[in-house]
Symmetry: C2
Subunit: 732 residues, 2 copies
């Protein structure tokens, strides 16, 4: 019996290797259409071996509904705008150049991050439609022989410039190949096989996840890339996340695939049951349909256009592109001034710079779970195709991404981003005259917005990131959390077995033998605001209680707005305080409204959370960009990633917090605003086996940017303009 | 010339008096249909004299679009549920009983607040459809000869019980008659007429507002009801609010209509221009239509029903009614347990208890502006008919209110509340498997919610209050602010004329001669939570930084959830702290989930603001219910209004803060949760001449209330279920 298992495992490993070789060979150098491109599924041993769950949903994706509008074919795309992402052809060129790049001809190498090396801001800002494109360049982060290389490849000449090279405290974003080969690595280890067997798990049911191991000031962490593998059983459920093999952690060298250490502490902890864990519709016994079909309908079609990567809607225009690390990048967001008709710059570039997700369990199998999902796993790389009609409404436009394998071969991630108009029945502005005046005035305007959405599935968790544009100039950036909890197995089946507070669980008992461990989520946004030009200032408008002088007024106190301009970075390290409130404006001190207010936008936090870990705790040193909710830095081409470019196992020596400590001047400069949206998550039973979406957001809101309400002239809805609908054929 | 003006004014006053007499006489005692009912418009001298703005919108209301579904006729309504509001017939009965109520036969009196005297909670909870209704009673707050009477009228027997009578520090909610006669009162004063004339304003263009005068520890405020009148010119705009006659304040005795004092300080301040202030669509020169028609469509109709006042939708059921003071009252909110199928109690009663809106200007014409809109003006009384298609989407159901005039005569406020299903394209829950696992799973469910909405126009400001029910059990309570700013005239036309910080403006220069004065908004909600029964506890789950012991873990810190049950009211006086975060649960300590967690809901604050006025400042003494964001009190029938029943000119001696100081026991008791949602508002030019809606909200969210995710079984959208639409005829 053991022999058979061993043979099967050997076969599995052999197949992985074969597949990898095969995959590398079959990559076309100049693919002419999408069909020739590497499909991500071929990168994962799981799709190959464990395809039991594929059939049902595959059909949906292969035959997208008619309304799934695709307006461009990623495989044959050509760049049309200076900020357009690298095309298939350009990525092939990068791959070819890298193959013959002298340091790489002699050593195995991997390309961890390939993205457009964007032209200088002034070049992009000066570019007009019809102008020739500035030189196209690729920015490449590669790794060879333990050394990280930051390169720029001229796509015309093939010339390679070295921006930075050498050993850093951290290493580049993992490739998908890193992740998939790491999860297969323990299979070759006999001790691992033995413990899996002893726990009663069939290797064929095994599902293992690669967990970034962080950095804990230990020597063994130096000079090599490590990852921890933790496993689950898929038996009886697609939701293997609910069936952890608790306490078993395999430490792997990512480069050699060597098993360094197996920690095996939870043998007496049962694997939780499969019952009631599967969330797929096909697996439900209790299907409930209590809502009639409902749809956002636009009889004359949507009001936005997407030309290449340029989105135009209502009074907005912006450039939109996918990025394997950041997910979605919004550039050159401009809004039309209703007075002058001119398109005015609001934001040069906005994107998710980093995430930080520390779990609150210091025990052996959990302490290291302090994810930095963008810099470690690639926030865009994990953004899977959106499900039409369910992830986005009917009239959505879908944009594909082109990413690349570790050797540089491009592949298409279809439907990675959707763009749609939303109308929830909300009110843009309104006024009725009240019974006091008796004037019969009733004016209301419906609120319609444009949403840009992606959803990254970083293993268990799903992050839904929305950029929502409003006609009144407001941009709402919204993060939704759904997907599946990272849970811990426990012998407890009922809280009455737990002696509190001694037997602290680090979370909530969600079901028999299942604990949802407490954790935080921080999502840090890079917001390069350019209010009518690059030179801006950051202004704090503090509301201060002001005591009246005796006899001045029957009032004893009132709030006074006290403005102060941040001179240097430290003036703009902001912790939000309910009892010491401020507004935070980015203004252009060189441009005034008609009545003399500087034009600007304010950042408006909503519900959020602050990291409370100790500053000397290694995870917090690496996640120090969460030390404040708001930061402002002078624009610096190299300061894009709040946790540092090389965040994997980094020591926190290249974070936003480190940059900001330089205390550079930020008044009337090209400045970048950073905001961290936070969530504390104490799981509850409703999160089992899959979480209803929890959402929070913040706003970028015009403040004296316009001379007056910019949507005074929009019309009310009228019955005659609305569609005439009938139920679909199926319901007739 | 002066003689003519005087004569005209005399005529105006005469007409007001005549109209009042006429109005009182024509009230039918048993109206048989809506047409006989008093229309609020006849209560306002403005509708009569200044009807220039009526024609255009009137048409819309008289001919509501076909899709405006009305399912019951308020005029012929009969009560069907113990909590149903008083009907026209019942209100007529109250009026008749009051006419012959001995103390009132001898003195003039006014009925300030008439509402259902709700049966005891246990009676209501025990009642089942088909049971006879418990005795119907009306709760009446009346005032006669300077004395407030709190009465209960048995609607069968006509018997009157006195609940409370006597002099209080405050007085009842103003009647519409109080407000409209007060605004007319200054017209009889020669000094007032002279200063209006001297400022170049034609009396025919005059618009005056009744501003509650608050209480400032002055003797002259004792024993009489005072109000301050401030005026505007309507010349050239429907938006007279933007044309203040600055510095002119007339103090009126509300009972005698006597002018007590005229403060006239702003003669040199110009009245701002009318240009660009009118917000009505008909007045726009620059009409912009950049969005194609968009609509929420439900080809098989909405999924909710309204039977009388009982709303049923998806897994929810609740009782909904209008109230002249609270606006909307939600009662007996119950959600279906997906496991047992049983309807489980979540909230016995929820409503807007009070508002507090202090302005931040201590000068003569502004210091007193510290509105308490529910208890002073009637939040429901000011909620005007919603505009179909613009205030609510196409398939909304509209509910009318029946309110009463000061003498008790009922009238119908049509379309006061709307109920509709909303779908914004959002996601209820989702999970994709990521490229790491390669499993081809993509499951997402659209998020559809049910919204109950009203919009109160308290003079200039519009408050949109939404109760949004989600299928996952969450209730979101959302407050939107729109409408028109309360502005101050100033000689300044540009900020370059202002020496800062010496010339502090108390706000923002919005346009030439117009300052938007800084103010706060606090909206306090009464939330009588009944988690599966009345006896509940309030639990604080505090997240505390916990330092690990040396050697315990590579981690130095983590967050620990520490639960504490509030024993008495003072344990539950909560100020939110970003750096000392907690979850706040209302649980039923007597009911556990399968794995032993107490069932409960948590209150989840989002963006909010705290009042920073000094505690000894009279406005804050009256608004002391905003001293904390959260309070919990034991249920007490008489503690409904956070600022006190008699809030007008009150001294703050009957607020939530006073009740809570009694520090009663609240563990395992019938408890009421109070939450205050706050906004600081520093106006900006975009708020001129009408504000784009600003929204904030908080959630009531199940936390171990269900055994697991209650919407696991809902289906994904499928193309075949969605409607087939074509553009409307008008666009063909």
């Amino acid at each position: 019996m053991e022999g058979r298992r061993f043979l099967r495992n050997l076969f599995l490993i052999f197949t992985v290797v074969l597949l990898a070789v095969f995959t590398l060979q079959r990559l076309p150098s100049t693919p002419s259409n999408g069909a020739d491109l590497l499909d991500c599924a071929t990168n994962s041993p799981w799709c190959t071996f464990k395809n039991r769950f594929q059939a049902k949903t595959n059909g949906l994706l292969k035959n997208p509904p008619k309304s799934t509008r695709r307006r461009h074919d990623a495989a044959s795309d050509v760049p049309r705008h200076p900020l357009d992402p690298l095309t298939v052809q350009e990525l092939n060129k990068v791959r070819d150049v890298m193959k013959s790049y002298p340091p790489f001809t002699a050593t195995p190498y991997a390309l961890h991050y390939i993205t457009l090396d964007e032209p200088e801001k002034r070049v992009v800002s000066g570019w007009k439609t019809g102008d020739p494109l500035p030189t196209r360049k690729a920015s490449v982060v590669a790794r060879a022989a333990g050394v990280s290389h930051e390169l720029s490849v001229d796509l015309e000449t093939g010339e390679v410039s070295v921006l930075n090279t050498g050993r850093h405290s951290g290493s580049p974003m993992l490739t998908l190949e890193d992740l998939t080969t790491a999860t297969a690595a323990p299979l070759a280890n006999a001790k691992f096989n033995r413990t899996i067997r002893e726990r009663g798990v069939d290797i064929a049911d095994l599902a293992c996840l690669p967990v970034s191991s962080g950095w804990y000031e230990r020597e063994m962490e130096d000079k090599r890339r490590l990852i921890k593998i933790q496993c689950y059983t898929m038996k009886g459920t697609a939701n293997f996340y609910m069936r952890p093999i608790e306490g078993l952690t395999v430490l792997i060298d990512l480069d050699t695939k060597e098993v360094i250490e197996i920690s095996d502490q939870g043998k007496t902890i049962p694997i939780p049951n499969a019952a009631n864990t599967d969330y797929r519709y096909s697996a439900q016994n209790e299907k409930v349909k209590f809502i009639n079909p409902i749809s956002i309908e636009q009889p004359m079609g949507p009001s936005f256009t997407v030309e290449g990567h340029l989105v135009k809607w209502a009074n907005w225009e912006f450039h939109l592109k996918p990025d394997s690390r950041a997910g979605v990048i919004i550039s050159r967001a401009m809004v039309r001034d209703p007075g002058t008709g001119e398109m005015r710059s609001v934001m040069y570039k906005g994107f998710t710079s980093e995430l930080f997700v520390p779990y609150m369990d210091p025990t052996d199998a959990w302490y290291f779970k302090t994810y930095m999902d963008a810099g470690e796993y690639g926030f865009g790389l994990q953004a899977m195709p959106l499900d039409p009609l369910n992830d986005c409404p009917r009239n959505a436009y879908y944009m594909d991404a082109v990413f690349s394998a570790a050797d540089g071969t491009p592949y298409v991630r279809s439907n990675m981003i959707c763009v749609f108009e939303s109308y929830a029945g909300d009110i843009g502005w309104r006024h009725s005259e009240c019974p006091i005046t008796g004037m019969d005035i009733r004016e209301a305007r419906p609120k319609v917005t444009l949403v840009v959405r992606m959803a990254a599935s970083v293993a268990n968790y799903d992050y839904i990131v929305d950029w929502e544009f409003q006609t009144d100039g407001l941009i709402r950036i919204k993060v939704g959390l759904s997907g599946i909890l990272m849970v811990k197995a426990t012998p407890y089946v009922n809280m009455n077995q737990v002696n509190q507070p001694e037997d602290y669980l680090y979370g909530t008992l969600l079901s028999e033998n299942v604990i949802g461990v407490i954790h935080d989520h921080y999502v840090t946004f890079h917001l390069d605001m350019d209010m009518d030009g690059a030179n801006n200032s950051f202004v704090k408008v503090n509301l201060q209680n002001h005591r009246t002088s005796p006899g001045e007024s029957p009032r004893r106190s009132y709030l006074k707005a006290v403005r102060s301009v941040a001179k240097t970075e430290k003036d703009a390290q902001i912790k939000l305080k309910l009892y010491d409130p401020s507004e935070f404006h980015v203004i252009n001190p060189n441009k005034m409204t008609r009545v003399g207010n500087p034009v600007g936008y304010k950042i408006v936090p909503a519900g959020t959370a602050a990291s409370l870990l100790d500053h000397d705790d290694p995870p917090q040193m690496r996640g120090a960009f969460t030390d404040n909710q708001i930061w402002v830095t002078p624009y610096n081409r190299s300061e894009q990633w709040a946790g540092g470019l090389y965040v994997y196992q980094s020591h926190g020596d290249d974070t936003l917090a480190v940059w900001s400590e330089r205390d550079r001047e930020i008044e009337n400069k090209d400045i970048v605003l950073w905001y961290t949206l936070g969530f504390h998550h104490i799981p509850c039973q409703e999160d089992f086996p899959i979480m209803p979406t929890v959402t929070s957001s913040f706003d970028l809101k015009p403040v004296n940017f316009f001379e007056s309400n910019p949507i005074l002239g929009i019309p009310p809805n009228q019955e005659k303009d609305l569609p005439v609908c009938k139920a679909a054929a199926s319901s007739a």
